[in-house]
Symmetry: C2
Subunit: 229 residues, 2 copies
DNA sequence: TCAAAAGTGTTGAGCGTACACCCATGC
DNA sequence: GCATGGGTGTACGCTCAACACTTTTGA
């Protein structure tokens, strides 16, 4: 008990809602708690913010330590501070959401946590704390964000087919899209670079691979262009 | 120094970016600090989160104590936690933005702060801490939010004219709108209730007063309707 | 040759945008 | 009667949505 203050202070944590895309399924990376409270229950990866690190820094560190994911698109979601949300006392958590290419993280390598794994958002286990609520907020945010910004590309490998991209939107938005209209729209933005490569090892005509043109997007953004699906 | 912990803890504050609309000018409520650091400088209203109050509760309390504003639309903005943002030590702040009808708050009544007042966002004084940055984020959020949700009405009195509403959008978005198209669009949504009252004390034809139909909006939202200007 | 997915255009409807004048009121 | 803002309709272009068949490839 070496740290003393004139007024009581809440503890501050970060939690990460990590999304990954697996075929036609949107998944979340969860960890199984080793300690009380909620011992053995599934929870969002996260932990206490160190006194000398920024919030995003803390989120990235916890994500790496607990799931082995060291590269991901990360964005602050919101801060949950209900008085009774943690049985140990007052804990305020800054929630982040992360988007990552699930293919790179199918095998969890170095992890702190007893257990970690991907769960379909349609089949989540019982979750510790108010983590279910946080996931709800994250999902809503993702569904909005994906339509008006090009964050969806963060869930795909660098090179992808138009069908993969369309499936991404269909999965997240949970509705079918028209193939011709989708292609017209996405190609019409001029933000995809057609590579000279095609899919490999498919039992049908191989689709062309594209890359997202980040530079062009930043350029157009500055000129008032708005991405929209 | 009565409160001791095993690990150092950051202090947690809330700060409020309070918007008000004054004719064709978007204004912010700022307070002048009475204490160091940044003594006598202007700052966002805010303060420490009590150990037994929720975050929004804290924001409302501080807003009331420091500016006398007790009713306002309030929404969490984001959390700023850069390590060196406060010279007193590690302080994480949860920023909120508030929308209020400036007419009700022209005279600041009961206030804690030495001084409080409205400032045009185009003519802000030097601000304490990283408050300028927080205001920047709030402005960006307001500009997005006002276009896709009916938060703008929170800046107007209950009854308003269509010209006032249009001026609101023109002020926040900083571009002119076409009168006929604006009226067509906003009336076409079916979210305005035409009252049988008109403006008073104007030196020209008095405009009809309208009210925003919150119930109808909630109803339509559930059916997938999206507000948009 | 069959199965599977890739790739490709047109049309109609609805929406956004541009644009100008008469009306009501108070002074 | 004049100054001030209130209130109103139309036409064009563009974007969105609906819709089906041919091509390529591997097995």
């Amino acid at each position: 008990m070496k740290y003393s203050y004139d007024y009581p202070r809440p503890a501050v944590t970060v939690d990460c809602v990590v999304f990954g895309l697996d075929e036609g399924d949107l998944k979340l990376m969860l960890i199984q708690r080793e300690l009380d409270p909620f011992k053995h229950q599934w929870a969002l990866p996260g932990g206490f913010v160190h006194i000398d690190e920024d919030l995003e820094e803390a989120a990235r560190r916890e994500l790496d330590e607990e799931t082995g994911i060291s590269k991901a698109y990360l964005e602050q979601l919101y801060t949950e501070g209900a008085v009774e949300r943690d049985p140990r006392g007052r804990v305020i958590t800054v929630a982040y959401y992360a988007l990552t290419n699930l293919e790179d993280h199918n095998i969890v390598a170095a992890t702190d946590a007893e257990n970690a794994g991907w769960f379909s958002i349609h089949d989540l286990p019982t979750l510790a704390f108010d983590h279910r609520k946080i996931i709800g907020v994250a999902l809503e945010r993702l569904r909005n964000k994906v339509r008006y910004t090009p964050v969806g590309f963060e869930l795909l490998p660098k090179k992808f087919t138009l069908s993969e991209l369309q499936a991404l939107y269909e999965t997240i938005l949970e509705r079918p899209l028209d193939k011709r209209n989708f292609r017209k729209k996405i190609l019409g933005m001029g933000l995809l670079i057609e590579t000279d490569e095609v899919e490999k090892d498919v039992a049908h005509r191989a689709a062309r691979l594209y890359r997202f043109n980040r530079k062009e997007y930043r350029q157009l953004s500055r000129q008032g262009f708005n991405f929209a699906i």
